[in-house]
Symmetry: C3
Amino acid sequence: MKSFRRELTFDIPTRVGFRNITPEVATCVRDSGVREGLVLVNSMHITSSVFINDDERGLHHDYTQWLERLAPHAPIEHYRHNDTGEDNADSHLKRQIMGREVVVAITQGELDFGTWEQIFYGEFDGRRRKRVLVKVIGE
Amino acid sequence: MKSFRRELTFDIPTRVGFRNITPEVATCVRDSGVREGLVLVNSMHITSSVFINDDERGLHHDYTQWLERLAPHAPIEHYRHNDTGEDNADSHLKRQIMGREVVVAITQGELDFGTWEQIFYGEFDGRRRKRVLVKVIGE
Amino acid sequence: MKSFRRELTFDIPTRVGFRNITPEVATCVRDSGVREGLVLVNSMHITSSVFINDDERGLHHDYTQWLERLAPHAPIEHYRHNDTGEDNADSHLKRQIMGREVVVAITQGELDFGTWEQIFYGEFDGRRRKRVLVKVIGE
């Protein structure tokens, strides 16, 4: 069995934002030399997500609005987590809806995707350096 | 290490619907010959889900109503994604709540499940042919 | 390839509650002898979750309030699932938001985590014995 590990780093300049990380993950898969296996891609933080959906700007706008409606940032004193001096309780909630991780099949050395599947980093408490872990196992 | 791949195809006749795909996944596990390992089951689309819950008709009705409340289909012009000519922005949102994929343990050649766990395909933009990927790795 | 399986059991004394299970999962990883691989941790039930977030009491209070707002327990007759004699339809909904499982990388024999990542069992229909499955594969 082969395994491979790489950290990707991002600095999203806004509090909320989405970035297509499919090219970086595809590079990891190629560099791993794994032909058949699985790749795990997860946020190493608890206020951001890795998820798979469409690379469409309008949809990302819709996600932003929708998540704000389901888990509003303000009033920040609404959340007990923010009593600790943080103001990011809503980010911990948004991340649960969008998920922490994706697991993707590797077949014949490539990400085994449907037509429109793309991997995104979803940031809900940005303006700082964040990390994503890519772990490949297989043969 | 062994690996196995199969696509399942579905054509749900309604916009929203749920289908128990546990028998098909169990067949994949048996056909893979893997005794100890993991099986990844994921939608290959971005407006549908694979998830694990109860095979109970009333619950599926409740999921349908609840998802419509959290991410309403109409008014379709509420969503920027629908400016592209689509009307399925809400399907992309619903899919995030229900998830893209499940990873299930394989033990002694079988799906390693609790009493009530069943795997479902959840469709949020149906009336067309869709695919689910089953990937098994192990030994 | 090595594999390892263990069930963890819990009895949360309230209907809703969160428990940090990172120490138990870390013990499984050590006992497995796997140095490079993946660990799957999933609820074996359909009204509870395994998820990764912050070990902060205020946040768990916020999760409880937020989930109750998104998927209220009462009125129980609002849900068709409860026509079966159950009163836990909301628990099946809450579990979908928080997720069934996590997959975590194992690197150099340890859980490969970011600074604040901790694994939780999230109970939404407690006051009874429940099980979590830990499955490790790797080498």
